[in-house]
């Protein structure tokens, strides 16, 4: 495929101009293709600007004084807000994180410490596959497992669905972060007579913690925006409720319901809700990035760090 480029001095014997023309053609073709990748890069960003632009314009104008303080108004009536949906999302995501983060953390530690074994590879692989499955199927699964036997939609069921979504994400992230911890650190701990669990909890986890926090935040922010797993579990609620055993409102559910409504007021509130949801997610991912950046700066500064330095850096 690659035509070797002859040095100019020896090529003079055989039609130099033809060779030069060929080279010029190859270079020109390369320039065109490279130009096309520039365009692809630019086009990939256009939808983001379009969506965020519309969200800000459509959402900001829809905020009313009652948006953050009251529950949805009855159909057709003006006013009302999404206070219950915001609280509901926080509650659902909290339950999801309580279920998903510890299990994912344990599974990730297991897979990273036995890296290379078939068992660890299988766990990592299945976690990857699970994270690609449609979230609506998780909703159906939790409905059959929790909602059907208990006979009612509930906040708990919604939280479980989000937790199942979070498990594989945190598993993979923990595994990757723990693998980045220099093995010298772990070996030093073992050489000092640390048992396995003490070295894991005081050395390995502590060093990998910023990365794990980052990845958990990213996973949780993804769960915060999920609608499909909540449709048949948390179900949504037009009234104020923080009970674990009753249907509960959530921002994405409320946005979905309002987007399909015939009332202009509700549609405007859907935009406002979407803007709030996006701000929550962006804030979480910015915090996640800041945590990771602090950690990367630390690793670059010195290969092996003392725990006290880590604490100091994490504090800032």
């Amino acid at each position: 495929m690659i035509a070797p480029r002859e040095p100019m001095s020896t090529a003079s014997t055989q039609a130099p101009s033809e060779r030069q023309q060929q080279l010029a053609r190859r270079r020109a073709r390369g320039q065109v293709m490279i130009g096309l990748t520039w365009i692809a890069g630019a086009v990939a960003i256009v939808p983001l600007l379009a969506i965020v632009g519309y969200l800000i314009v459509g959402g900001a104008s829809a905020f009313s004084p009652t948006f953050f303080t009251s529950v949805p108004a009855p159909a057709g009536a003006r006013g009302g807000g999404m206070a219950n949906a915001i609280v509901g999302t926080v509650l659902l995501v909290g339950i999801g994180a309580l279920i998903g983060v510890p299990i994912g953390l344990g599974a990730g530690l297991f897979a990273a410490e036995r890296r290379g074994t078939r068992l660890a590879t299988t766990v990592g692989f299945i976690a990857d596959v699970l994270s690609g499955l449609p979230s609506v199927v998780l909703g159906v699964f939790v409905w059959e497992l929790v909602v059907r036997p208990s006979g009612r939609f509930s906040a708990l069921a919604g939280g479980i669905a989000l937790g199942l979504l979070i498990i594989p994400l945190v598993t993979r992230a923990t595994e990757e972060m723990v693998k980045l911890v220099p093995s010298a650190l772990n070996e030093a701990a073992v050489a000092l007579g640390f048992s396995k669990w003490r070295s894991a909890s005081t050395v390995v986890l502590r060093t990998a913690m910023p990365g794990i926090v980052t990845a958990s935040l990213v996973a949780i922010s993804r769960a915060a925006g999920e609608t499909a797993p909540l449709l048949f579990t948390a179900f949504g609620n037009a009234y104020w409720s923080v009970s674990l055993f009753r249907p509960i409102a959530a921002l994405p559910l409320q946005i979905f319901a309002y987007a399909q409504s015939p009332y202009d007021d509700w549609r405007a509130q859907a935009w406002a809700g979407a803007l709030v949801l996006l701000v929550i997610i962006a804030a979480m991912s910015l915090i996640a990035r800041a945590v990771l950046r602090a950690r990367l700066a630390l690793v670059r500064g010195s290969r092996i760090e003392r725990p006290s330095t880590i604490d100091a850096e994490r504090g800032t």
């Binding site: 495929m1 690659i2 390369g30 320039q31 490279i34 990748t37 520039w38 692809a40 890069g41 990939a44 960003i45 983001l48 519309y54 969200l55 510890p102 344990g106 599974a107 297991f110 068992l119 976690a127 990857d128 596959v129 699970l130 690609g132 499955l133 449609p134 609506v136 909703g139 159906v140 059959e144 498990i167 992230a173 990757e176 693998k179 007579g193 048992s195 396995k196 669990w197 980052t214 990845a215 990213v218 993804r222 915060a224 925006g225 999920e226 609608t227 499909a228 449709l231 048949f232 994405p252 946005i255 979905f256 987007a259 399909q260 935009w271 979407a274 996006l278 997610i281 962006a282 991912s285």
Partner: protein
Amino acid sequence: MAAGPRLSRQRLGDLTYDVVTGTCAAAVPFLLVLLVAVIARAAWPALSLHAADLLTGNTWDVSRGRFGALPAIIGTILSSLLALCIATPLAFGAAIFVSELAPRRLRAPISFLIDLLAAIPSVVYGLWGVFVLVPLLRTHVMPPLMAVFGALPLFRGPAYGPSLLAAALLLAIMILPYITAVSREVLVAVPRSQREAALALGATRWEMIRDAVVPYGRSGLIGAVMLGLGRALGETMAVTMVIGNRHAVPHSLLDPAYTMAAVLANEFAEASDDAHLSALMAVAGLLLVITLLVNVIARWLVWRVRQPQQRIAPRLA
């Protein structure tokens, strides 16, 4: 060696640690098995009674007990494949740009923006689709399409707005960042020696990418596309909001259609009789099996490229 009681305490700690992490790790495969088993069991009545009608029937009429999911199956596959055709060239271009060609100062910001696109929730894409994309298609895109290509059955109207085309475009926007992110990881994992060898043979920069970098990462790139396909097949909210939700096989890009995930989103919460529920479970099971296959193949392809190096960058959204 330490004294007896201390040693046993250490052993106890280690044992607890092993049991706890091992249980968590076992939970991951167990979850997958349970997922398949529970949905298969719930779908069994429908499968045993009318599996053939489910897979090949055109009529979905709950009151008459007819559950033909063919329109939804075809709609799912068509919308995903169309989205893939639109998104793949753009994603590869963007991935090559970010990993190989972009000026160093532009790389991080562009990656960040593309990752941000992946972090936008599905329902927000749907909202944008309903109020921006669909009206735009209805008034500014579909009429000229019908005027120019109206002779082709593919572009026959009426232009409702919500349509297969709207769903495919929105899906393309949604899977673009996923395909880009995975392709970028694959391209970055291509060893430096490959690039240097191509350049040393006199390749131009583009020839190096085309003949050395892309072939080395080929299976990973195919895996990236299949991961995008898996996402598109299972995408629920955004598609439900713009595809028009009509139980009929679409004959034109401008026709409303249905997908399996959208059927679940619209009907599951309201389903009351057992036959309907079981049929929906069967649809969920079918969707699960298809996406499971696509994901297993995709992950396997991506892992093959990344395996020898074990060089893993933290993924951020």
